[in-house]
Amino acid sequence: MELNTYQQEVFEKQRPVIENFSKKTWGWTIFYLLWIGVGGYALYLQIAEGHEVTGMRDNVVWGLYIANFIFFIGISYAGAVISGILHILQVEWRKPIIRIAEMITVIATIIGPIFILLCIGRLDRLHHLFLYPRLQSPITWDVLAIGTYFAGSVIFLYLALIKDFAIYRDAKMNVPKWKQKMYKILAIGYRGTPSQKRHIKISTNLMAIMIVPLAIIVHSVLSWIFGMTLRPGWHSTIFGPYFVLAAIYSGTGVLIMAMWVYRKMYKLESYLTDKHFIYLGYIMMILGAGYGYFTFSEYLTDWFASEKWTSEVISKLFNMAEYGWWFLFANVAGILLPILIVAIPKTRTPNLITIASFFMVIALWVKRYLIIVPTLESPLLPMQDTRIEYVKYSATWVEWALTLAGVATFFLFFTLMSKFMTVIPISEFGDKEKKAEPETKILPEAEIASA
């Protein structure tokens, strides 16, 4: 593979990251593995002793796990939608960030479904989903949709990687033999012939177009698990679009955070520029406004009409002794904070945007929890149960351990993947980027003036 000068520069910059597995990286990897190990022990307990070890009971049948499931599938939208849409729109500045975005998608789509498996009482009977499938069940829709979506996002990531694998293969890097061999296999004989180039281009375009509706279907179907039931707070017609928007929103937040970490860790300031943070900040602000609108519209209609059952759920969300503080946090940190940080020119800096993203992502996790638990704690018939764990959900250490293990797995995958492939795609850059290079650092003020 012939590299132009700019590509060479991008490659040389990232070469050490791939070639060296530093002590620090080892340290983190072991730390994540320990974390996952604790989760593994928790999982063993849950399988050996039954779901008794979780905080879930007959009223609150789902808890942290489902919230995590929605959360991870949500952040997987970073690659699918942000990268997909920016690709379709041929936005040039997307190039350095698409790899990170698509990595988030693939990793989150692996971890998300693990959490729904944790909710299942009989994992030994999982094959029943294929032996006796019933098409009218939203869970079957989920299995189909997530399966397709996962395949789609792996292909989308891989298509953009083939050229890069060919570059790694030909660069004679100082890497172990197995790695060299992997690059060779994964590059599937790419030599950069016109016909190969054309095929990859067409396939990438097709995947970009397909991945967007696929992603929308996945989260709609997921929201319908709740929307299709007769439960107050769930049985809502806007759940599909509401979940989809929240997902893209949280995905953007995670993308911004991942960019910040990589930029710092691998010193990629010249590629992941302030401009990227600010542009993604704008996207986040617009999505935040949309998400805020949906939230407002959902709770206003419920509160105004004040039907008996919905009022009960709403009153729990508004009551400071119950979920009031969490609800407030979810809305302040999840809606107001990111919008304000990006809207005010003074605070529109990469660091502050990243901090806002961090709180927003946490707030969106809390919001998912608030969608699940208060509704399940408000059954239509009075509970009249004296067993406190049946009345009020409180997650046990097993659930928290597995939740943290999920987060650790996310980080672990991220670390390992960035050691296997360059986080900034090399082949995407042409010669013209080199010429445009000097204006990488754009001051926020200048940005507003031009906008």
Partner: protein, 322 residues
């Protein structure tokens, strides 16, 4: 009452016996691929099977000595999915007679070998409005004609039968609990841990009509006791009630019985202005309630004698009442 117990006991014994035979029959048919109808096959196979004797003892015998029955009280899983031809089971609950004696609850638990905490049938204390009078409200599965739980099951483990029953195959259930989230009446119960068993049930084959033995990680609920209906018996809750609160029967035949009297279903729900719980949800329950009008017992009668633990359930309503 004593007599009642006796009947229950006999019923259960016969039932266990049948169950054991069913277990053995399936095992034998499966492993030897013999015809269940064959009666001449007496060659010792060396294939030992465990049986539960009518006295409650486990005995081990060679499968060749088993007497395969053509008409078993316990039907095959396939038949259990179809239901009893021509039937349409229905229940009417007379709220004016209930005093929370809780005999139905214990009879149900006893029949299904469920522990004290597991209440397939539960008695709630309802108070519809602030000024309204509280009343006792026994609630089992409503066996809805438009069941939200069945709609969402991904593996067809819970299903609706032609005779109106909604049952669960606990050998198929994957334990996703979606049906529990979908049921607006909190009817379903999950086995969060290895379920309580009054005696060793290993080797017993579960059937949707009985759900015995219970299985960890699966969902269960009131099944309207179809195994008893097949024997022409009323469900234990109906028989156990000292006040004749429950009427159980067949809508097609237009008869319901509470054990003391057998009357016309249509006439009863017409005369007594029966209603279905939360009709507005569109689930079309198969359980009708007769409003708690002209009540036979003051509501306190069901509260004062309760053990403290049970009293706690209803304390806020009872204590705010006066």
């Amino acid at each position: 009452m004593k007599e009642q117990e006796e009947i229950n006991d006999n019923g259960r014994r016969g039932f266990i016996k049948n169950l054991a035979i069913a277990t053995v029959a399936t095992a034998a048919c499966g492993s030897l691929s013999c015809s269940c109808k064959s009666k001449t096959d007496v060659a010792v196979t060396g294939n030992k099977v465990k049986l539960l004797s009518p006295d409650g003892e486990i005995v081990e015998i060679d499968s060749a000595y088993l007497n395969h029955q053509e008409h078993m009280a316990i039907v095959s899983k396939l038949e259990a999915r179809e239901g009893m031809a021509g039937k349409k089971f229905v229940m009417v609950v007379d709220l004016s007679r209930c005093k929370n004696a809780r005999k139905c609850v214990t009879a149900c638990q006893k029949w299904h070998y469920r522990p004290e905490e597991t209440e397939w049938l539960t008695v709630k204390l309802m108070k519809d409005s602030e000024e309204g009078a509280p009343y006792w409200f026994p609630k089992q599965c409503f066996h809805c004609d438009n069941p939200p739980c069945v709609k969402v099951c991904p593996v067809d483990a819970t299903f609706k039968r032609d005779d109106g029953l909604v049952l669960i195959d606990n050998d198929r259930c994957i334990g996703c609990k979606f049906c529990m989230a979908a049921c607006p009446y909190s009817t379903r119960v999950f086995n969060w841990e290895e379920p309580y068993q009054p005696f060793d049930m290993t080797g017993m084959a579960s059937n949707p009509e009985t759900n015995i033995p219970a299985k960890v990680g699966t969902v269960e609920k009131c099944d309207f006791c179809p195994d008893r209906s097949r024997e022409g018996l009323l469900p234990p809750c109906v028989e156990a009630c000292p006040n004749g609160v429950f009427y159980f029967g067949d809508e097609n035949e237009d008869t319901v019985s509470n054990g003391d009297e057998t009357i016309s279903f249509k006439q009863l729900i017409k005369d007594r202005a029966a209603y279905r719980f939360q009709e507005e949800l569109g689930t079309k329950p198969r359980v009708y309630y007769l409003p708690p009008k002209d009540r036979q017992f003051p509501v306190e009668r069901g509260y004062d004698d309760l053990p403290e633990k049970l009293k706690d359930r209803f304390r806020d309503i009872m204590e705010n009442k006066s």
